[in-house]
Subunit: 347 residues, 2 copies
């Protein structure tokens, strides 16, 4: 039996994302179809989940791989993390994470509120030693396929040791999930030259340069994120969050501008109809949902965040990602790597 | 005589940008044609400048508004700032800035190396009291026209006082250059809520909220930069540099993807030919060159940086911007605003 065939059971927060369990249930069924050794526990409002399941034709083989766990409430997208942590103790998010903490599920997938996921994940799963807050990684489409950017928002006051931790944990993740033996790593900076950067970045660069286990490539600038020259782009959570959201905002703005300009005259409307299949292909190629699933790194359990805009196919990708992390025992591998590493510890 | 008719004389670094004085000379001529009260001193290699001028038909009226100043050398795009500062003392950049320092020109425009411009500008022009390094602002196209982002790279280790200074100086600039009496200002952050952000941003927000002279609107996230909801987006130079370069990189990547996808089949090549005039209009609309000119704020003299990719038209925009700043005496207005302001001083 290969690793990919090992039975694995995941906890699915079916209520995250305010739209009810629609995409989560459909996504889970897609993932179950693609992976015969996968089973899932759908956590949420049982009436709603059962109503969704009833819309699908379930073969007998599927049905026995789906477990249900009722939750009385769920975390709203606009809940403050502290409120979600304290006032939503019986939420689907809490219960799903508790299944992982208790060893009944090997990983959790949620499309819910990132801040709440962070707070509840920390409390319920606990942190690996030396990690204060989990780092969140995201997949970025590039000229050469995909790369990862981390941290994208959890850690907004980073010291050099945090950046080294991100590089280490990200490298272990890329090795585990993508099977790349020596993923290349760069620090995001305002220039290439060694004198460039703020104090944390310069100190982190010194430590990364001397690091025996990392394939460190030096600094890259913002425009090079999309080049795919490195597999792992490491930065402060503040910077990563701004880079990611600025990119999302620009992509949306450009796409609106294209639509407006194509709608302006009869001729351009005609061209736009002709261009539709081509632009659709472009959209598919750039679609972040294709690579959906942000990993929380540094928790004592696997947690994958699905993008809030993901559809069933996107949610299925996030489940598949969580299944790989669970089979690879990613948290244990992260723990080993962090323990043998002094450069990731604080001064 | 209105302010816009006041005679103004600018120093043009004709050699910045490695491509010789081609765009600079052509851009200066465009600016002179548009502004009959403008005169310029073109600084650079006289043989090259004269050869470029000879390619244009100069009316007598033009010719007397063009002065020439020979420089033996110029700053290369890959010169380290420290090298440019010490080893290129007779460069066109040095000489052009010296014309401003000596009061012979009212502002300087250069398309040269930003780091060198920063270093030489600081040394030759000096800083306003309380300012350590000038902030660089850039224009961003948005849904509602344009906004400004600053700082975009000069200050990579910002404290709250720096961010307050950027907000103040940026507001004065927008009032002067764009004539908006109460420009709206926001801090770039990882969330809307007051608990979000790193330590500097949170402290700066407290000071900006209480500020009587600023139209402060709170936090905005990365995706909202392109909304145009605020006229001035303030951030650490590290963050601004990453946001700007990431945007430039993504725009280039998307445009390559569109070209590739349109080149893939005979049908898509046909559509692409039909779509060419429409996409050209899009490109013009988004073209940063249309709004070219990054202002250095905090120096004792006006300095405008033209984008390295600008053509003659773009360079002319940068000159027009410098002419407005010079006529408005922007550095004096910045000085007044900073002096009456305690929230912009360091603890």
């Amino acid at each position: 039996m290969t690793l990919a065939d090992q039975p694995v059971s995941l906890a699915i927060d079916a209520m995250g994302g305010d739209s009810g369990p629609h995409y989560q249930v459909a996504g889970a069924l897609l993932a179950l179809a693609a992976d015969p050794s996968l089973s899932v526990t759908l956590v949420g409002d049982l009436d709603q989940i059962k109503a969704r399941l009833a819309q699908h034709q379930l073969s007998h083989h599927y049905a026995e791989r789906i477990h249900l766990l009722h939750s009385e409430t769920w975390v709203r997208m606009d809940d403050a993390p502290s409120f979600a942590l304290r006032q939503r103790k019986n939420s689907s998010m809490h219960l799903a994470l508790r299944l992982v903490a208790e060893g009944q599920s090997a990983a959790c997938v949620s499309a819910g509120n990132t801040g709440a996921l962070m707070a509840i994940g920390r409390q319920v799963l606990g942190m690996l030693p030396g990690i204060e807050r989990p780092a969140i990684s995201t997949v970025i489409p590039t000229r050469r396929g995909v790369s990862y950017l981390l941290d994208i928002g959890a850690n907004v006051d980073c010291q050099a040791a945090h950046l080294v931790q991100f590089a280490l944990m990200g490298s272990v993740m890329v090795r585990c999930v993508d099977g790349l033996p020596q993923p290349s790593v760069a620090l995001l900076n305002v220039g290439h030259e060694s004198i460039k950067g703020n104090a944390q970045v310069k100190l982190a660069a010194q430590r990364l340069e001397q690091h025996p286990a990392l394939n460190y490539q030096g600094y890259i600038e913002g425009h090079a994120i999309f080049s795919g020259d490195v597999q792992l782009v490491v930065c402060d959570g503040f910077v990563g969050n701004i880079a990611l959201k600025t990119s999302e905002g620009l992509a949306r703005f450009l796409s609106e501008q294209i639509q407006q300009i194509f709608a302006r005259s009869l001729y351009s409307r005609l061209v736009s109809i002709m261009a539709r299949p081509i632009l659709k292909r472009l959209k598919e190629q750039m679609d972040p949902v294709r690579y959906n699933g942000g990993s929380f790194l540094g928790l004592r359990g696997s947690l994958v965040k699905s993008h809030g805009n993901a559809d069933a196919r996107g949610f299925a990708f996030a489940i598949q990602r969580a299944a790989i992390e669970a089979r690879q025992k990613l948290p244990e591998q992260l723990l080993r790597e962090l323990q043998r590493d002094e450069s990731a510890s604080f001064d």
